[in-house]
């Protein structure tokens, strides 16, 4: 299967992989390719390198979707996911009463949650994804944070729904909730556990946490609905997961961990892409072994010792690169063997400069070689 088939008929592509392998770059390249095929595409990136952000017209001031020029006949909108901005926007959208809104935005747990903490990223990515999926696009490409957090994005909807179960949240808040809460509260273990938790973290944090969860308590229905709909979208037919890695041992091990986590959760990994995966010649083709020749035999002036030395060094370099390419190939096949469903298995060349223009991204995609 080719990249074209990967893009054909898709609604959602989720790019996952270890940090630093170029997920964002390849995700953007896939989005551009789909736009070139005439689709209306949105790409949500996370922490893109600045030059890539520039290439996509993202100025980093907010996280709005902005059009990317020059990718027709389709369209491409790109957004950079900013956790804090997305949360604030969410609170503004769901909270009509200005006082209530202020209370939420001033809550310190909310502030630290929305700004700094790893897990909150997954929740907001989920919210954002929900909005964009409803935005009338043919295809949405979602970039994810590295390794473990990518699994968090899959787990976040279910986790939030479980947590927003009003019995749990209600007991935590001292509301008691409604319905089944009474029986739940009878559980002595829970009561003792919560009291002890308060003693452990102290009253101040407990109160702020209560305030924070108060927010979620009132938003829980909407949250739960959106969480459920994102969960459905992640498992829908039009969704494919794209596992992105690089062929270094550490990246492959992290990618294998991620692969296993995704498969365990029933996520369909349809493609495995390897970035910076081979030494390329000047035409972008993998450097392979060549028959040896004597430097002196091909030189116009066989007595030119500098030229002979250069040619010997060049031959030795090619030999080294070819051997490395073969080793990289073997390493990649190990990861791919564990994903029999992934019919798209491509590798992309090591580039002298990270691609940071629409043209460079298209060129990168064009120089794909099969694994």
């Amino acid at each position: 299967m080719s990249l074209v088939e990967l893009l054909e008929g898709r609604r959602l592509l989720v790019c996952v992989g270890p940090g630093g392998v170029g997920k964002t770059t390849l995700g953007a390249a896939l989005a551009i390719a789909a736009a070139r095929r005439g689709q209306r595409v949105a790409v949500i990136t996370i922490d893109p390198a600045r030059r890539l952000a520039d290439a996509l017209g993202l100025d980093g001031l907010d996280d709005a979707l902005r059009p990317v020029a020059g990718v027709g006949p389709g369209t491409l909108h790109a957004a950079m996911l900013d956790t804090k901005a997305s949360y604030d926007a969410l609170i503004h959208r769901v909270t009509g009463d200005p006082d209530a809104r202020r209370r939420i935005l001033d809550n310190r747990v909310y502030q630290s949650f929305s700004r700094t903490l790893a897990r909150s990223h997954a929740y907001v990515a989920m919210e954002r994804l929900h909005d964009v999926l409803d935005g009338g696009y043919d295809l949405v490409v979602l970039d994810t944070p590295p390794t473990r957090s990518a699994l968090d994005i899959l787990d976040a909807p279910a986790r939030l729904v479980r947590f927003l179960d009003e019995r749990v949240l209600g007991a935590f808040l001292g509301h008691g909730g409604r319905g089944g809460a009474a029986s739940w509260l009878k559980s002595k273990g829970t009561e003792v556990a919560l009291r002890l938790f308060g003693a452990l973290v102290g009253d101040g944090l407990m109160q702020e946490l209560a305030g924070f969860f108060e927010v979620f308590f009132h938003l829980r229905t909407g949250f739960a609905e959106r969480a459920a709909s994102v969960q459905d979208a992640l498992r829908a037919d039009g969704t494919a997961f794209v596992l992105v890695s690089a062929p270094r041992a550490t990246h492959l091990a992290d990618a294998a961990y991620l692969r296993d986590g995704l498969l365990e959760r029933g996520a369909p990994i349809e493609a495995v892409l390897f970035n910076r995966a081979f030494h390329a010649d000047e035409r972008g083709q993998p450097v392979g072994a060549a028959a040896p020749y004597a430097a002196e035999a091909v030189l116009p002036d066989p007595s030119d010792r500098v030229a002979a030395s250069a040619l010997r060094a060049a031959q030795a370099l090619r030999g080294r690169l070819a051997v490395e390419n073969a080793a990289l190939d073997r390493a990649m096949r190990g990861l791919v063997a564990g994903v029999p469903r992934a019919h798209v298995r491509l590798r992309f060349p090591l580039l002298d400069e990270e691609p940071a223009t629409v043209e460079a991204l298209e060129q990168l995609l064009a120089s794909a070689a099969v694994v």
Partner: protein
């Protein structure tokens, strides 16, 4: 190992000070390799190195070629131990440490509502990770000395490390007392103690990573009390040919076919080397000891790791 023996000696020994060695840098720069190599070097010197991998990765398994690195430190060979921090295990430890009655502690750790709370709540994972690092720092060996020395922490990305450094600030005023406050105070004190902690930076000899390292350095210097250690530049390419590149350009006009293709590869490699050198030169602006680690053309096996460790450790 021809490349390695030619590598320059930095004279800077990152293992000499700071029992807690933190490593940060953008994803993909090879932090895990640097951390593992330095741990091997510490092991070779007869120390008791422990590598802590954060972020639920499997890098250390791959680097050391062992089946599994989990919550409890495992011997990965060469005198090195490694562990990952697993939050449910860390939670059990935490509750056991703070609730003296074992049966009660078990009840808390097993309470499903609390489990749900911990799953969803912010900050819990971060606080538990701190707790675990503190616990490993405090562990004693039978001879009464520190069980782990040095402890090398491999953060999974720049943002992750910054978030940890900012934790005490984030919780300022929020947690006035109690065990979490003590934990955060202890962590602040540990971070700002120049005899105990070093934060090392890892980067690559390329334009963007260097730019990001310069910015990270300025941010750390301006906003954080943590003492910076060394600057490790990973995968520095060797010069592929000593001669004048102009000679290659002249020769290219006269050759075609295979030899010309080979020469063009060489020409590009020379350009890459020059670009790497230029990128590294920008790091001269930083007041940190710099260690250049060579690009390996071989697989990263134990021998290569040991050799890399010697260079990373000052090149004795």
């Amino acid at each position: 190992m021809g490349v390695l023996t030619k590598a320059p000696v930095s004279g800077f020994d990152p293992l000499a000070s700071g029992r807690l060695a933190l490593f940060t840098g953008k994803g993909g720069v090879g932090k895990s390799t640097v951390v593992a190599a330095l741990a091997m070097e510490a092991g070779r010197r007869g120390r008791r190195p422990l590598v802590i991998e954060l972020g639920h990765r499997a890098s250390m398994q791959a680097v050391f070629g062992v089946a599994h690195v989990g919550h409890e430190p495992v011997d990965v060979g060469g005198g090195v131990h490694a562990c990952n921090i697993e939050l449910d295990e860390a939670l059990r430890d935490y509750v056991a440490d703070h609730v003296p009655v074992a049966a009660l502690a078990r009840r808390i750790a097993e309470s499903s509502s609390l489990a749900r709370f911990f799953e969803a709540a912010p900050a819990v994972g971060e606080v538990l990770t701190l707790q675990r690092i503190e616990q490993l720092m405090a562990a004693r060996a039978p001879d009464g000395g520190a069980r782990w020395d040095p402890i090398l922490v491999d953060f999974d990305a720049t943002g992750h490390a910054l978030m940890f450094l900012e934790l005490p600030k984030v919780f300022e005023g929020l947690v006035p007392g109690g065990p979490v406050r003590r934990l955060l105070d202890g962590f602040s004190a540990l971070l700002s103690d120049p005899t105990a902690t070093r934060l090392h930076l890892v980067t690559l000899p390329a334009r963007l990573p260097v730019q990001e390292t310069l910015e990270l350095h300025d941010k750390l210097a301006a906003e954080h009390a943590v003492r910076l250690g060394g600057l490790f530049v990973n995968r520095v390419p060797a010069r592929p040919w000593e001669g004048d590149p102009g000679a290659i350009d002249a020769l290219l006009g006269q050759l075609d076919g295979e030899p010309a293709r080979d020469l063009r590869l060489l020409r590009r490699a020379i350009d890459r080397h020059a670009a790497a050198q230029a990128a590294m030169a920008r790091l001269d602006a930083l007041p940190l000891p710099r260690v250049a680690l060579p690009q390996l053309s071989t697989r990263l096996d134990r021998r290569a790791l040991t050799a890399l460790g010697r260079i990373a450790g000052g090149g004795a």
